[in-house]
């Protein structure tokens, strides 16, 4: 019974992490399209492109590269 619960919890955790990955992809896609539109509509607004690039980097480094693992040992779950 306890093992069933544990397996279910691990599976739920897996699904949650996968869902988070999909949300990050959506955000990255929206930001990339936003960059493209800004460049086409208003080319001089380069600062917006820099902000978008930094924002995207933040998501990739935090949620895909899991930089927290470097500082938190192996405690951080996948």
């Amino acid at each position: 019974m306890a093992k069933d619960k544990e397996v279910k919890s691990v599976d739920e955790r897996r699904k949650e992490v996968l869902r988070n990955g999909a949300i990050i992809l959506s955000l990255l896609g929206v930001l990339t399209f936003g960059e493209f539109l800004v460049a086409v509509i208003a080319p001089p607004w380069t600062f917006i492109l820099w902000i978008a690039a930094l924002w995207k980097t933040f998501y990739v480094v935090k949620d895909y590269m899991h930089i927290g693992r470097v500082f938190g040992g192996d405690g951080e779950a996948h």
Partner: protein
């Protein structure tokens, strides 16, 4: 058994630190190339297909998504899921390479943009070439990890090579996140 597991965790923590130090040092080279682009070209950019640039960027972002899925599946002991997602990542990586080196380079050359035609040409080929070389090594690394994974070399508890390949792949993605706007979006087309 517990001591063996603890030893593996210590080794993984050390390997992880080493990988991130390598990434930090490599990012200085990418940063140097980015600075070179702005010093040489200023508010101008090479004449490139913005649509193709967007397409290859989306391919690379999508590959990062599947790489993340592959790593998560391995971390939960799902070997099939790992193989499926990593294979998709590998295919997308090759598609990115074809898009940049196989399509964009000949297109740029056809428009007169070569390594010695102008500063814009030199900057474009060195930036995309250096990045493409990283993609190529990433693809090779992923192929090795995929082969080992198929043979059952990794488990939910022991899969450091998978994590390393994933982190390296995402780093390549981060580098392109800056190269894409710098080459395709920022400034006006060089005359």
């Amino acid at each position: 058994m517990a001591a063996h597991a603890a030893n593996y965790l210590t080794k993984t923590a050390n390997n992880r630190l080493g990988l991130w130090l390598f990434i930090l040092s490599d990012s200085f080279v990418f940063g140097g190339l980015l600075v070179t682009r702005f010093v040489l070209l200023g508010d101008q950019r090479p004449e490139l297909s913005q649509g193709l640039g967007l397409a290859v960027t989306l391919i690379l972002l999508l590959s990062s998504f599947f790489m993340n899925r592959g790593e998560v599946e391995m971390a939960h002991g799902n070997q099939k899921g790992f193989v499926r997602n990593t294979t998709i990542t590998l295919a997308l990586g090759i598609a990115f390479l074809i898009g940049v080196v196989g399509v964009e380079w000949p297109l740029a050359a056809a428009h007169g943009l070569t390594t010695d035609s102008s500063a814009a040409g030199a900057v474009f080929y060195i930036m995309t070439g250096f990045h493409a070389f990283h993609v190529l090594t990433g693809v090779f690394l992923m192929y090795v990890v995929l082969r080992l994974g198929r043979k059952g070399h990794f488990t939910a508890e022991k899969h450091w090579p998978v994590e390393a390949a994933a982190v390296y792949w995402h780093f390549i993605d981060v580098a392109w996140i800056f190269f894409y706007p710098a080459l395709y979006l920022m400034g006006l087309v060089a005359g």
